[in-house]
């Protein structure tokens, strides 16, 4: 039987709407962005002019870009590490059928539906130097005095932002790890118990290897989102004080929309995109994550 290209027996008609959307909203913008990165907007003549590779040359020579990349990587490394370790610890803690643990697991899902911009503002209030709860607690513990506002001090601001990310997304790790823990086969554990292995050995030799795939997926998805983080710094610090919390995403957004450097902003956003695509695909390949 011969079937036409646009028959329901062929995949194309099923994939057509998806392909159209992805081409219109990822390929086209990508090409436009590349085009834009070779132009710059001139405020006097109010037009885009061809500048060749000037934006890319500027990118390499831009000390603030390197600083933003450094801040992004620092934020990425700390936040992701804390979320994985803390997430695993809490998942192990909750992996039991004590009374009320089901309720606790449900309670943890709630942070995931808070709009990140609103979570940022929650912590803006909690970390407020005048009347914030966290400021009060830290002050009582003698860890902070009121003259060093968390978010307005260059050395502490990034930690203040990381705290929101850790608060909001550690439960993401917990839920995924818990699902992984609950689906582990019981046999290796029974064997280990007969051998009298310690709890730590069991975790290292059995749990971790069996959880490898689940951990890899969680790290990949969270890693992508942490690297391109924008909302928290935008509402909490706008990159300040000084340039101490500028992430790459915020820097490119501001170059485009605050400083009208359309070409340079596009170049920066492409650079961010390139880093994520390369690192994430490398990770998928090394960790053998499959969809």
């Amino acid at each position: 039987m011969r079937v036409g290209v646009l028959s329901w027996d062929r995949p194309w008609i099923w994939l057509l709407p998806l392909t159209a959307m992805l081409v219109a909203f990822t390929i086209m913008p990508l090409l436009y962005n590349i085009w834009l990165s070779f132009h710059e907007y001139h405020t006097f003549s109010r037009e885009l002019r061809w500048v060749g590779g000037a934006n890319w040359a500027q990118l390499v020579a831009d000390a603030r870009m390197w600083e933003a990349l450094g801040i992004t990587l620092f934020y990425f490394a700390v936040t992701l590490t804390v979320q994985v370790i803390l997430g695993m610890a809490i998942a192990l803690l909750l992996d039991d059928d004590e009374i009320g643990f089901g309720f606790l697991r449900t309670l943890l899902t709630l942070t995931l539906v808070v709009p990140p911009a609103i979570a940022g503002m929650m912590f803006l209030l909690i970390e407020d130097p005048e009347f914030g709860v966290l400021t009060y607690v830290l002050e009582q513990l003698g860890l902070l005095d009121k003259t060093t506002p968390i978010l307005a001090t260059a050395s502490t601001a990034i930690w203040g932002v990381m705290l929101v990310d850790i608060w909001q997304w550690t439960p993401f790790m917990v839920l995924i790890f818990l699902a992984g823990l609950r689906s582990l086969p019981p046999e290796p554990y029974e064997a280990a118990m007969l051998d009298g292995a310690s709890a730590f050995t069991v975790f290292r030799r059995i749990t971790l290897p069996l959880m490898q795939k689940v951990i890899a997926v969680a790290v990949l998805i969270r890693g992508i989102d942490i690297f391109r983080m924008f909302d928290y710094v935008f509402v909490m610090t706008s990159g300040g004080p000084g340039t101490s919390t500028y992430t790459l995403s915020l820097y490119s957004w501001q170059q485009t929309f605050s400083f009208i450097k359309w070409g340079y902003g596009a170049t920066l956003s492409l650079f961010t995109l390139l880093i994520i695509l390369i690192v994430a695909n490398l990770f998928i390949w090394v960790a053998k994550v499959r969809w």
């Binding site: 709407p17 834009l36 909750l94 935008f234």
Partner: protein, 294 residues
């Protein structure tokens, strides 16, 4: 599992409750702020447990009286914006519902083919869908801003709905594919032997079997659209604004309307909270784009 002593079980419960309640605390505190009078918010030490609750913040942002007396009506925010938040909730609902509808429809069609049909490049196609999930929103928002400007789509429902649908497509496609993959191929094949067409099998047999999965996908798409910030911030001006973006306008150089912001935040989070409780069963699968099953 291992036999544990009673005291270690109690200790474990105490630590577990303490940890989770610590995570819940910011939400609780935000809720108290929503019900606090302006002055009480600024008390130091902060009042966490005892305060006199008021619904004034809610009355102000919705411009209604809940029957507990009605103070003078403020018309503009410190930053010059409007107090009336009901239209902004409406914008959020329209955008989230329609973008979810589009994303789930497109994804259901495509993921059926990706799950059921063999064709050259299928694996690459899936990788392509996945890699669009990696694009930083800023790298999409910048060019789309200029494209929308040309097409007069800035500040329109259509523009935001389309971009939110796009944002949710990788999630929706990969998640729906995992639900289709759960259904044995024999079901399709037996239908084909009976002479039914692909589309008929899809509509009459397979689609009803993934209803639960499609609902879970829809809930997650709804939540991600509901909470999205950067695209709405970039692609709208005055015509429409969703709740997360309008909330940020409560922060101004002359002061922040914390009580009203908290009230709006609480009102906006409530539907998302209720929805997520409905999809507990598929939540982890959704968060991992279909790759970890509960």
């Amino acid at each position: 599992m291992m036999v544990r002593s009673k005291s270690s079980r109690v200790l474990r419960s105490v630590v577990a409750w303490g940890t989770v309640l610590l995570f819940a605390f910011p939400l609780y505190y935000w809720l108290t702020v929503a019900f606090k009078d302006g002055k009480e918010i600024f008390n130091y030490p902060p009042q966490v447990w005892s305060f006199s609750p008021t619904v004034r913040n809610f009355e102000e942002i919705f411009g209604i009286s809940l029957g507990f007396g009605f103070g003078e009506q403020r018309e503009v925010l410190p930053g010059g914006g409007n107090w009336r938040m009901a239209p902004r909730l409406w914008d959020s609902i329209v955008i989230a519902v329609l973008s979810t509808g589009i994303a789930v429809s497109i994804a259901t069609l495509a993921s059926y083919a990706l799950s059921r049909m063999e064709f050259a490049g299928r694996h690459h196609f899936v990788s392509w869908v996945l890699s669009t999930r990696m694009m930083p929103p800023v790298a999409v928002a910048i060019p789309v801003f200029f494209i929308y400007k040309e097409l007069s789509l800035l500040d329109t429902y259509t523009g935001v709905i389309l971009i939110h649908a796009l944002m949710n497509l990788p999630l929706a496609v990969l998640l729906m594919k995992s639900f289709f993959d759960d259904i044995p191929h024999e079901i399709d094949e037996s239908g084909m032997i009976d002479g039914a067409s692909r589309f008929l099998i899809f509509r009459r047999i397979i689609l009803p079997m993934v209803k639960g999965g499609a609902a879970a996908t829809a809930v997650l798409c709804f939540i991600f659209s509901w909470t999205e910030f950067l695209f709405v911030l970039t692609l709208t001006q005055t015509g429409l604004k969703t709740v997360p973006v309008v909330s940020s306008t409560f922060v101004t150089s002359t002061g922040t309307a914390w009580g009203n912001m908290a009230a709006l935040g609480a009102a906006a989070m409530l539907p998302a909270f209720l929805f997520i409780l409905l999809v507990q069963k598929h939540l982890v699968r959704g968060l991992t784009l279909g790759s970890v099953k509960q």
